[in-house]
Structure formats: structure tokens, C-alpha cells
């Protein structure tokens, strides 16, 4: 009993009580430590997680801005339509992946079930259009042409149509005012993809899943201006998604309007006349091939000479850009992109390239003058020229005797330029080129901006090509194996050429240089490049970056960002040479190759300058080129496999000028009928409430050809 202390407790109990106490306080310390770890050490991490836990976003897409012509006529705007869409995520939740629902929907909409099912599948490498290439979490539009009755049926029987919605939605409309289709210039929209959302995440204009994005044309170039910013309302929600408050929200900012320099009226005329010229060409028989001209494609550019602003730009074949609205159908897509389609999506004014033919001669003339040949010298214009054992003929073997460079332009004499190019080729060492070749003709082409983009504000412009020494070397390296293989059995023409190319394709041959001087051979140019050059000839030598966009105007019309004309270079001509070329080109229109197309033109009031071109393409019919300018405008037209420059394109260009200036066939000027005697300098007025004061527009009716009796023979 002696070990029982007075408290009635043994040592064992005391020790155990102390042990309990230590255990208890270490448990509490553990809790405290863990609490510090969660709240202080990692607190920020959890705070962020808590934030994302309870904020839900509701996205209200921004109204896309309109694309307006120079007078405010909408070329692209928005329209409210009843859009029926399906939510993929909802459909996939169903046992049959929504088959039954889509079947009922097909019945209501009068579409085939097959068609609807194709529309809601996701695009991948193996899936052809129609398919959905937007975000799989975004409702997929099935049709934007639902009738009110159909929409009501879907809404009233919502239990039969889970995951299907029918809502009035703003969709893009390409109105084609006055039949000015302008398809390739405007471009089109399609839904944004997940990769694009990722890419644009940290940029200044992040994309939302609901966004449509411009895929080509102005819609693409000015996409960030037109798109605006979607309104995002952020709601704080509880665990069941019930709204318990509002967090920081971003209001919807509608997209800005883009005012272009396009004049819908001139555009309509240009499109109509290009189309007519191609139709007419198809009625003409090609003397070389004995068949009708194919006139498979064509382009025309009307540009302000003093600013580079594009007034009209037509490309044929064209298409209806509304086909893209609300998701493109499989048939339409094949029609636009298939092998048989002839690729109407291409804007041939900036993406079509061909040898320039004789409209290139302004460059050769400049090259000759800069190489030291006097403009007014005498150069033999023989009917043919023998160079290196090959005979190079003048066009239609004409012989004009010794003439000046100006006259050579007027009558488009080939042999004058052959001679000059051959002399230069010899000076540069001929077949054994010197180390420092002058290459005047090639250097000048580069100085004229060829082989390079003009910098127009439209996407995917092509560069064309100058077949200079460097290019020849590169091209030979890339192709020699194929050429040499083909050249082994040298019996037909193609194989012979291949053999020759295999052996000496890396060299600049005499024939190459001679052909090149008149715009034939491997040279490729785009209509817009030639428009820039002829515009520069008109304005005294400044090569402007062509622009379609003229200003970006906020929806309320208050903030205007003007797109000022910018130049990318000067022509390498002295003012005197420019004057001489200008005079010669006026001569082309009055007494040269284009004179027959400008009969009765009021040359004293509106001096006209022109150059015709007919480019030969191996295995195809000739490409028609027509490059013209007045003091204010330059018009370039080309028709592939369309015949001669003046023959195929001439009448169309003349009629476009007639419409612009109000000139009739006889040469009278009617200022009231003139569509645009001076380039539009003002911007259309956009009111505070977003309404636009647009000019009136009537469809273009081409003047009927007068009875032949009244025409002079």
C-alpha cells in the first residue's frame, strides 16, 4: 500500500495521464499544422479553385458589323432568321444517340434524316462535308430556313425534341445590292474550331465557342473589327447551378462596320460585263485551235488610280456567298470545291496568275530606256527575227519598219523588244553569263513590284513570278530529274522540250530572254499587280497598296478609323519617260491596237490610255489582257482562254468606262447617267442608332446594242 500516494493514485496512472496529455496535444498540433498548410501555405491555390467553382458564364454573341460599299449600301449585313439547332451533348446522352429525335425532326422540317445526321457529325480528316467543324459543345445549326410553323411545332412539343432548339438568330446576309455579288471579295464565315480558340486565347481578341470566323475575303481581313466582343454575363451559382449573385460581366460590344471603296453599282456593271465578255468569247472561234474559246475564268479590277482603292473587283466563275450561311450543304460544298467546280472560291483578281502578254511591254520599255536606249530612237519592227536558230515572229507577222519605243507600244510590235532583249542578253554574256549581269529587263520587272504581293487587304494574294536567273536555277533543280527522265525518249514536242530543259534549263537562254521581253513564257502576273502598275502610270509613278477597306466605323458612327492609302514604291521611270509612255498608251487607245474598241470616246475630255495583251500558254488558248487607265481610274481585265486582249476584254472595259463616266457609244457624256465620274471621297453617314444613310441602287441594265443601220460601217 505504500506505493499509493495521497491523491489515491499510483505512479503508473500518473505516467499514463501524462502520456494521454502528450498524445492529445500532438493531435491538436497536427490539426493546427494541417490547417496552416491548407490556408496559409496553399491558400491561394484553393482560393482560385473556389472562384472557378461557382461562376457560370452566359455568352451573348456580338452582332457582327456590316460591310458597306462606298456610299453605305450594305454588301454584307445581318438578318434575323429562325434557326433550328441541335445540341450534340444532349443528343449523345440519349440511349440511341438521339436517332429518334433527329428522325422526328426530319419529319417536321421536311428534310431527310440522312442529311440531318450528316450535319451534326463532327468533321475530321475522313469525314467529308457536310459535317460540323465548330466546337462540339456549341449547338449545331441544322437549318436557318425554318418556317414559323415548324419552329412552333418544335417548341410546343419540346418533350419530343430534347436537345433541339428553334430560335430567331441573327445570321449573315450577303444582299448582292443591284446584283453586285462581290462574293470573293467579301469572303465567308464558318464556325470557329477548338484549335483557333486555343490559339487566340491570349491574344487581344479571344474567341468564344459560339463565334463564327471570317474564312476569306474582307470577312477574314477585318474579322477582328467586324466580330465585336460577345457579352459575357458571369453568374455566381450554388452547387445546384442556382444563381446567387452576379460577378463581373462584360457587356456585348457589337462589331464595327467596314466601309469599303467598292461601289456596288460599278461592281454590278463590272461583274455583268465580265460575264458577258466571257459569254461572247465562247461564241468566237479560235483560229489556232479551230474550236470555240473556252473562256473558263476571268477577272476584272476597277481601281482608283490616285489612291489604290478598289472600286470594283470581279472574279469569274462566281458563287452565291449565302451558301455558307447556317452551315454549308454537301451539294453546295462539292459545287464550290470539287474538281469539276472550276474553283469559284478563288478570287482570280488576286489569286489568278497568267503570263501578261503585251501589257508587260510598259515594263520592257522602261527597262530599255533605263538600259540606255533613247525612247524616241529608231528600232526595226520587222515581221520576224531569227535568234539562235529560232524564228520569233511579230504578232500576225506585221512589219512597221524602224519605229520609236512609243510607236512600238502603240502597235504592240514584238520584234522591237526581241531585238533589245537579245542585245541585252548578249551584253550580259549570252550563254556564258558574266559574273555581274545587268539583267535590265528582269531588274525592272522587280522594280515594278512583280513577283511580290501588292499588299492588298485581302488574304492569300499570290505573288506571280519573274523568271530571272535565280528562278531558272531553282526551278531546274526542282524539276531536272523529271525532265531528264522524260527527255530520254525524245520523239514528241513535249519530250524534246523536256530534254532541252534537262540539259540547259538552268541557263538563261536567248529564247527565254526574248520571249520574256514581250510578256510571254514563264512570267506570271496577277490582275491586281497590273492594276497597280497601270495606276502608277496614271498617277505619276506611285505604286499604291491596293485597298478595299476604306474605314472602320463604330456601330454608332462616332469612331472612325480611316484606312489611308499607302504606297509601296515608285516606278523606276524618269518623269519624262513616264510622260512618253503615257502619251504612247493614249495612242494605243486612239490609233493603236485598242483604237477599234474606243471608237467615239471623248478623248479630249476624258483621256483614255490602254494596252492590250494576248498571252500564249502552251496547250491552251490565249489569255486576253486589257489594261487601261484614265486620270482617276485604272481598269484591268483578263479572260483565260478568251482570245486577244482587245477582242475579248475590250468591249467590256469600254462599257465599264461608259457606265462610270456616263458616256454612250457615240461619245456623248451624260453626267446624270454617270455612276462615279469622280472617286467617292466622303464616307457614308452612320447615325447614332446604327442606321446607315445608303445611296440608292438600281440593278444594272446593259445598254442594248443600237440597230446596225445607225452604226457607221
Amino acid at each position: 500500500m505504500s506505493n499509493i500516494p495521497e491523491t489515491g493514485r499510483t505512479n503508473r496512472v500518473t505516467v499514463r495521464l501524462i502520456a494521454i496529455q502528450i498524445l492529445v496535444f500532438s493531435l491538436l498540433l497536427t490539426l493546427g499544422g494541417r490547417l496552416w498548410y491548407l490556408q496559409i501555405r496553399n491558400g491561394q491555390e484553393y482560393a482560385n479553385e473556389a472562384k472557378s467553382n461557382h461562376v457560370q458564364q452566359v455568352v451573348e454573341p456580338a452582332t457582327r458589323g456590316s460591310i458597306l460599299d462606298a456610299r453605305g449600301v450594305p454588301l454584307a449585313d445581318n438578318q434575323t432568321r429562325l434557326v433550328v439547332s441541335a445540341s450534340r451533348t444532349e443528343l449523345l446522352k440519349m440511349k440511341d444517340d438521339g436517332k429518334a429525335v433527329l428522325g422526328r425532326l426530319a419529319e417536321v422540317l421536311g428534310m431527310s434524316e440522312q442529311e440531318i445526321r450528316k450535319k451534326v457529325r463532327l468533321c475530321d480528316a475522313k469525314t467529308p462535308q457536310p459535317c460540323w467543324n465548330g466546337s462540339p459543345y456549341q449547338p449545331i445549326p441544322i437549318t436557318d430556313e425554318a418556317t414559323t410553323q415548324q419552329a412552333l411545332q418544335i417548341r410546343e412539343r419540346s418533350e419530343d425534341f430534347p436537345g433541339i432548339s428553334a430560335e430567331p438568330t441573327a445570321v449573315r446576309r450577303y444582299a448582292a445590292p443591284g446584283n453586285a455579288n462581290t462574293a470573293q471579295v467579301l469572303g465567308y464565315l464558318s464556325p470557329v474550331t477548338d484549335e483557333e480558340i486555343q490559339k487566340a486565347k491570349d491574344s487581344r481578341s479571344p474567341l468564344l465557342r459560339s463565334d463564327q470566323i471570317g474564312r476569306s475575303g474582307l470577312e477574314r481581313t477585318y474579322d477582328s473589327d467586324l466580330r465585336g466582343k460577345a457579352g459575357v454575363t458571369r453568374y455566381e451559382v450554388d452547387n445546384l447551378g442556382r444563381v446567387i449573385g452576379k460577378a463581373k460581366s462584360d457587356p456585348q460590344v457589337p462589331g464595327a462596320n467596314v466601309v469599303t471603296s467598292i461601289d456596288a453599282r460599278v461592281q454590278a456593271v463590272t461583274e455583268k460585263e465580265l460575264d458577258q465578255a466571257m459569254k461572247d468569247a465562247r461564241n468566237e472561234v479560235d483560229k489556232n485551235t479551230g474550236t470555240h474559246y473556252k473562256a473558263d475564268s476571268g477577272a476584272a479590277v476597277v481601281m482608283e488610280a490616285k489612291t489604290g482603292r478598289v472600286v470594283a473587283m470581279a472574279s469569274s466563275p462566281a458563287y452565291d456567298p449565302n451558301a455558307w450561311v447556317g452551315g454549308i450543304s454537301g451539294k453546295d460544298y462539292a459545287h464550290l470545291t470539287g474538281k469539276k467546280s472550276n474553283y469559284p472560291l478563288l478570287n482570280r483578281a488576286i489569286q489568278g496568275q497568267a503570263a501578261p502578254g503585251s501589257i508587260f511591254k510598259v515594263i520592257s520599255t522602261t527597262a530599255a530606256v533605263n538600259a540606255g536606249y533613247p525612247f524616241d530612237g529608231h528600232y526595226p519592227c520587222t515581221s520576224s527575227m531569227n535568234i539562235g536558230g529560232q524564228t520569233f515572229k511579230n504578232f500576225e507577222s506585221e512589219n512597221f519598219g524602224p519605229i520609236s519605243l512609243g510607236r512600238a507600244l502603240e502597235v504592240s510590235c514584238d520584234t522591237v523588244f526581241y531585238g533589245l532583249a537579245y542585245q541585252q542578253w548578249q551584253k550580259d554574256g549570252g550563254n556564258k553569263p558574266k559574273a555581274d549581269t545587268a539583267d535590265w529587263f528582269y531588274k525592272t520587272a522587280h522594280q515594278f513590284g512583280l513577283g511580290k504581293e501588292t499588299g492588298i487587304d485581302l488574304p492569300n494574294e499570290v505573288r506571280g513570278r519573274i523568271p530571272d536567273r535565280q528562278w531558272k536555277k531553282d526551278y531546274w533543280k526542282a524539276n531536272k530529274d523529271a525532265w531528264c527522265a522524260q527527255g530520254k525518249h525524245a520523239d514528241d514536242y513535249v519530250s524534246k522540250i523536256a530534254k532541252e530543259n534537262c540539259e540547259s534549263g538552268m541557263k538563261m537562254r536567248a529564247g527565254d530572254s526574248v520571249n520574256y521581253s514581250i510578256g510571254q513564257g514563264d512570267t506570271l502576273v496577277t490582275p491586281i499587280q497590273m492594276a497597280v502598275i497601270y495606276g502608277a502610270l496614271s498617277n505619276g509613278g506611285t505604286m499604291y497598296n491596293p485597298t478595299v477597306g476604306k474605314a472602320v466605323v463604330s456601330p454608332d458612327g462616332k469612331h472612325i478609323r480611316r484606312i489611308a492609302p499607302a504606297a509601296h514604291g515608285k516606278l523606276p521611270d524618269s518623269p519624262r519617260t513616264l510622260q512618253q509612255i503615257d502619251k504612247a498608251l493614249a495612242g494605243v487607245a486612239t490609233r493603236g491596237t485598242a483604237a477599234w474598241r474606243f471608237g467615239g470616246w471623248p478623248q479630249d475630255k476624258i483621256p483614255m490610255h490602254a494596252k492590250t495583251g494576248t498571252a500564249e500558254v502552251y496547250g491552251k488558248q490565249t489569255t486576253s489582257w486589257f489594261a487601261t487607265y484614265t486620270k482617276d481610274y485604272t481598269i484591268v481585265m483578263t479572260i483565260s482562254q478568251g482570245g486577244t486582249g482587245s477582242g475579248a476584254s475590250g468591249p467590256a472595259v469600254r462599257k465599264i468606262y461608259n457606265a462610270i463616266y456616263g458616256v454612250n457609244e457615240k461619245g456623248d457624256i451624260d453626267n446624270k447617267a454617270a455612276l462615279l465620274p469622280k472617286p467617292e471621297s466622303k464616307l457614308p453617314k452612320i447615325e447614332d442608332d446604327g442606321t446607315i444613310q445608303a445611296g440608292v441602287i438600281k440593278p444594272y441594265v446593259p445598254p442594248k446594242p443600237k440597230p446596225s443601220a445607225s452604226e457607221s460601217p
Binding site: 499509493i4 490539426l31 494541417r34 491548407l38 496559409i40 482560393a47
Partner: protein, 393 residues
């Protein structure tokens, strides 16, 4: 020198130098009271928006919590008044009552909440959790048996027979509660039994044996598939918190986000977005600590742990200072109870213990729990003031 005269007035009795009131452990009382009041505010914050629970009255839980606290204080006062020594005689009756109540839970009178049939529905919309009373009666019962011969001066330590008797007494309610099944309460009872045996001075072999039984029991429960799926899932979620964050891992995940998001000072009472958004389930009861963590931050939540520490510190002092083994064992049982239950409850919200349905003493909403912990406070105070066996008995 003034002559000592016994006070006769009530006030005089209460304030006399040797009065019960003066001898109470006021620090213990104050700490427990502050925790209970903090609990009221936190319960209010967690429930004022839960219209599906609070019958449209945002003060419903707040007021009921205060009412429970009032009843708890009353029970504590009664306990002190009667004294733990007086209660010693009533222990068999109380024990029997608690066993009967526990058994009733297994009858159709029992109600199942959250997969556990541990509630007894009482007419009038109230419900009782008999396991809470069992915590007290097991403590008292075992203390009575184990201390009887030691306090009588017969032996320095309880002998094996006595230990077997004590364990036998505990085994009956433990078995019943295991049948409910209310694993959380069983674990607390295990901790109490361990605390009681330790403080009684029972042979080390019993302590080790009990620990061994615990481990073997856990393995057996696991192996024999006695656990419900939801319980297995909870353990899985504990082992791997990122598992199924929308399902079984949801509670722990959201609880940790709430606490972690609180930072040093918290978002302020009623301003916790996790709490307002009701992302944490059972927040007014088992997960009340997350409200403290989010809205009061490290300072507020740490305060609760600190106050628990104060209560346990005072309880340890009381256990050490009392002269009878009976009082020591009761105090130690209460220490084991409070500390284990608090550790398990806070630990699960912090992600260091698996989730079980146990309230946080004093803080969580829940009548039976509140009554039980305040009776325990009453017992601790009673041990401290050493009231003699009531003469009236």
C-alpha cells in the same frame, strides 16, 4: 478576525469563498461556452440560405442551436448539482436506459440518416442519437467498475476480472451501435475505452490487447464485407482525394477548397462563397469546421482548435488533480472522447482522416451531441469541485 458564519441566502451561498460556484473551473467553462456560441454563428451562416432545410426561417437552426446550448447548460448545472459521486449510484439505471434507447434505434422507431440507422425519432419532430448518451454511460459505467476496488483501497490497480467486467459492460452498447451501423461512434467508443483503461492503471497487456483487437476488428470488418459500399467509397476517396471529385470525393474536395480558400483572415462571416453556394454538404453538422475555415480563416478556425486545446488542458488538469481514481477515469474518458472526436471531425475536413459522420463537440448543430458534451463538462466540473455524496441520497 471575523467569525465564520455559514451563509444562508442563495446569493451568499453561491458567492461564498468555498461555494461550488467559486470552485468551478471557469476557464474550462468559458472556453466551452465561447466554442458553443461560435458554433451558433457558424450554424447560422451555413443554414440561413438553405431554405430546403430551415423551413423558410433563416434563424431556425441558429435559435435551435442556442436552445440546445441552453438545455445543455441546464443539464451541466444539474450534473454539477448532483455531483459525479451521487451519480455513481445511479449508473446502473442510466446505463440500462442508454442500452434500451440504443436498442430502440434498431426497431422501427429508428430513423436512417445518411445510410446510418443511428437516430431515434421522438414524437414532436425531435430526434435523439442514443450513441451520444452511450459515450457517457460507458465512461461512467467502466469508471465505476474499474475504480471500485482501487478507491476502496483494496488494490493498487484493477485486476483482470474487473477489467473483463468493464469491457463486458462496454461491449453491449458497442455491439448495438455496430449493428446500426454507426462506425464513427464505435470508433469514438473505442477511444473512450482505451482512455479509460489507460487511466485506470490496468495492466499493459490489456492496453495492447485492446489495440490489437481494434486492428484485427478493422481487418475483419473489411474482409468480411461488413462495410456498406458508401463506406468503402469514403475510404477510397480518403486514400485518393482526386478520385471521382463529383462523387464520393466531392465532400472532401469541396471541404478542402472551402477551408483552403479562407486564407489567414477568411472571407468574413456570411461572405464565404463556398458556404453561401452550399457546395459543402452537411455543413451545419459534420462539416461545420469548413464554415469557420472559409469565413473566419486561419485565425478563426485556429481559434476553435485553440479553445478545444484549452478544454482538454483543463480536463487533463482535473484528471491529474482529483483524489479518487473514479474521477480520474471519468475525466480521462471524456478527454479521449473529445480529443478523438474533434481530431476525426476536423481531420476529415482537412483531408487527413476519412469521412465519418461525427459532430464537432460544442460547434456542430445537433441536440443530443450538445447535451452529451455539456453533461460531460458538468461531470468535469463536478470532479473538480469534489462535492460530497449528496446527503439526500
Amino acid at each position: 478576525m471575523p467569525r465564520y458564519t455559514p451563509e444562508t441566502g442563495l446569493w451568499g451561498k453561491l458567492t461564498a469563498r468555498d461555494s461550488v460556484v467559486r470552485r468551478l473551473d471557469w476557464i474550462l467553462l468559458l472556453a466551452a461556452l465561447v466554442m458553443s456560441l461560435m458554433g451558433a454563428m457558424l450554424v447560422f451562416s451555413a443554414t440561413r440560405n438553405r431554405t430546403e432545410l430551415n423551413h423558410g426561417d433563416e434563424y431556425y437552426f441558429f435559435l435551435h442551436h442556442l436552445l440546445n446550448l441552453g438545455i445543455g447548460l441546464g443539464l451541466a448545472t444539474a450534473t454539477i448539482w448532483l455531483g459525479h459521486r451521487t451519480l455513481r449510484g445511479a449508473i446502473p439505471v442510466l446505463y440500462g436506459l442508454s442500452v434500451i434507447l440504443a436498442l430502440l434505434v434498431l426497431t422501427p422507431l429508428g430513423a436512417t440518416i445518411n445510410g446510418s440507422r443511428s437516430w431515434l425519432a421522438i414524437p414532436g419532430g425531435f430526434s435523439l442519437q442514443p450513441a451520444e448518451f452511450a459515450k457517457i454511460t460507458i465512461t461512467l459505467g467502466m469508471a465505476m467498475i474499474l475504480a471500485a476496488r482501487v478507491d476502496a483501497g483494496d488494490r493498487p490497480h484493477p485486476d483482470h476480472r474487473t477489467v473483463v467486467q468493464g469491457l463486458g459492460l462496454a461491449a453491449i452498447p458497442v455491439a448495438i451501435i455496430l449493428l446500426m451501423p454507426d462506425l464513427g461512434s464505435v470508433m469514438v467508443l473505442g477511444a473512450i475505452i482505451l482512455g479509460v483503461l489507460l487511466s485506470s492503471g490496468a495492466s499493459n497487456r490489456w492496453i495492447l490487447g485492446l489495440l490489437g483487437t481494434g486492428v484485427v476488428g478493422c481487418l475483419a470488418i473489411w474482409q468480411l464485407g461488413l462495410l456498406d459500399d458508401y463506406q468503402i467509397a469514403r475510404f477510397a476517396a480518403f486514400a485518393n482525394p482526386s478520385l471521382d471529385p463529383a462523387g464520393v470525393g466531392y465532400n472532401t474536395n469541396q471541404a478542402r477548397i472551402a477551408i483552403g480558400g479562407g486564407g489567414l483572415t477568411g472571407s468574413g462571416l456570411f461572405h464565404g462563397s463556398q458556404t453561401t453556394g452550399q457546395f459543402v454538404p452537411e455543413q451545419q453538422t459534420d462539416f461545420i469546421f469548413t464554415v469557420a475555415g472559409e469565413e473566419l480563416g486561419f485565425l478563426g478556425a485556429g481559434m476553435i482548435i485553440f479553445l478545444l486545446g484549452v478544454v482538454l488542458w483543463r480536463a487533463c488538469r482535473i484528471a491529474r488533480e482529483t483524489s479518487e481514481l473514479y474521477g480520474t477515469i471519468v475525466a480521462a474518458g471524456i478527454i479521449a472522447w473529445f480529443s478523438f472526436q474533434a481530431f476525426e471531425n476536423i481531420g476529415m475536413t482537412l483531408g487527413i482522416m476519412p469521412v465519418t459522420g461525427l459532430p464537432l463537440p460544442f460547434v456542430s448543430y445537433g441536440g443530443t451531441s450538445m447535451f452529451a458534451v455539456w453533461i460531460a463538462i458538468g461531470l468535469l466540473q463536478s470532479i473538480r469541485v469534489q462535492r460530497p455524496v449528496s446527503a439526500s441520497r
